[in-house]
């Protein structure tokens, strides 16, 4: 009987320890999206925007940045765009920016019309995407640890450290908490 109780207790403790690290949708080390980059410095990467201008990620240092990898063919990516528009609208003038990285193989020819013409309902109003969009590719995905599923987002603090990685649609309330927490930390000197 004691052995049985000991076994159950052991399982329980293992379960508690195992479950302790399971956040709502925060991807942990060794996930499908490649080795975890959480806690590491943001990758040194330069994107191209839809006008062909270079956008080095480091140029956003000092801001809280949510890098959102998406594609026009990805339905859950489209479904979370109203949330992203809302975040940019709410925190865009408070030291935060979203950066949408479009992973479409056809690049600008398909992304630009989508960005310019597709309207999303945000708080009852029709809105187009209100945050910077850049183009991504496999090499860029590789620098973020190799990406398999979309949408996938990386929340980066003012000092350029990746704080969280989210696979799947973002939870607006959780994002509010995380962004506000990072915005309240001191800007990088």
């Amino acid at each position: 009987m004691r052995k049985v109780f000991g076994g159950i207790l052991g399982l329980a403790l293992a379960g508690v320890l195992g479950a302790a690290g399971c956040g709502h949708n925060t991807v942990s080390a060794g996930s499908s999206a490649g080795s975890s980059s959480v806690g590491l410095a943001e990758p040194q990467v330069t994107f191209k925007d839809l006008q062909g201008a270079s956008v080095p990620l480091v140029s956003l240092k000092g801001k809280v940045v949510l890098v959102n990898f998406w594609a026009t063919w990805c339905d859950p990516c489209q479904a979370e765009i109203p949330t992203l528009i809302g975040l940019q609208q709410k925190y865009g003038d408070k030291g935060f920016t979203l950066l949408g990285v479009a992973m479409d193989d056809d690049g600008k020819s398909v992304v630009e019309p989508f960005v310019q013409k597709t309207e999303f309902t945000v708080d009852g109003q029709k809105r187009t995407m209100n945050y910077p969009i850049v183009l991504g590719d496999d090499a860029i995905a590789q620098k973020f640890g190799g990406l398999i599923g979309y949408p996938i987002s990386f929340l980066i603090s003012r000092d350029g450290t990746i704080q969280k990685k989210y696979l799947g649609m973002l939870n607006a309330k959780e994002m509010d908490q995380q962004i506000e927490s990072l915005l309240s930390s001191a800007p990088a000197s």
Binding site: F5, I8, L9, L11, A12, L13, A14, G15, V16, G18, A19, C22, H24, N25, V27, S28, G30, S31, S32, A33, A71, T72, W73, C74, D75, P76, C77, Q78, A79, E80, M103, D105, V110, F114, I148, G149, Y150, P151, I152, L167, G168, M169
Partner: protein, 200 residues
Amino acid sequence: MSGKQGSRRVAWRAGVLTFAIAACLGSVAGAIAARQESALPKPSAVVKPSAYVSLEPVPRGSDFEVAVVIEIARGFHVNSHTPRDPYLIPTTIKAQPTAGLEISGTKYPKGRDEKFAFSPDKPLDVYTGSVTILLHVASRASAHLGANRLPLTLRYQACNDSACLAPVNVPVNVKFDLAPAGTKGRAVHSEIFASASASH
């Protein structure tokens, strides 16, 4: 051992047992959540295609059908051949040009309207489980006699209930024997072709 000690011990054990069960349930729930996040396969691993030819052998100069059965991994869907949203990538199959063989028609199954967690109000036109695409092939006099091969490319884009995988092209090789004109071909895999025809 007094009665009091005995009842304390029983109460302690009951407490431990309750804690253990609760913790185990929590652990299982955590493990499931973690697995959902970490179990995304490579895009090419979501669909397993198999090809079947309607005649054996295929007499040169005759028409025959090829059934491409695609098995979609549980928990995933791919867009049908006719998704509603123009930005979504349809499932397609294309043949590489092969001497003496001509695809004269392709029939895709109808998709199913399904709602997902990311699209609770807007049903998507998708394939799930197992579906069959039928190709009508004409063999010409210039077709190579003997062991033959018709290379096809299946293109699809898969998602589960929360995330999508990149679109992918998967090769499908159709192998068959081509016999001289006038040879009688035996109808084979008739259950696959009958079932596929009924669903188109």
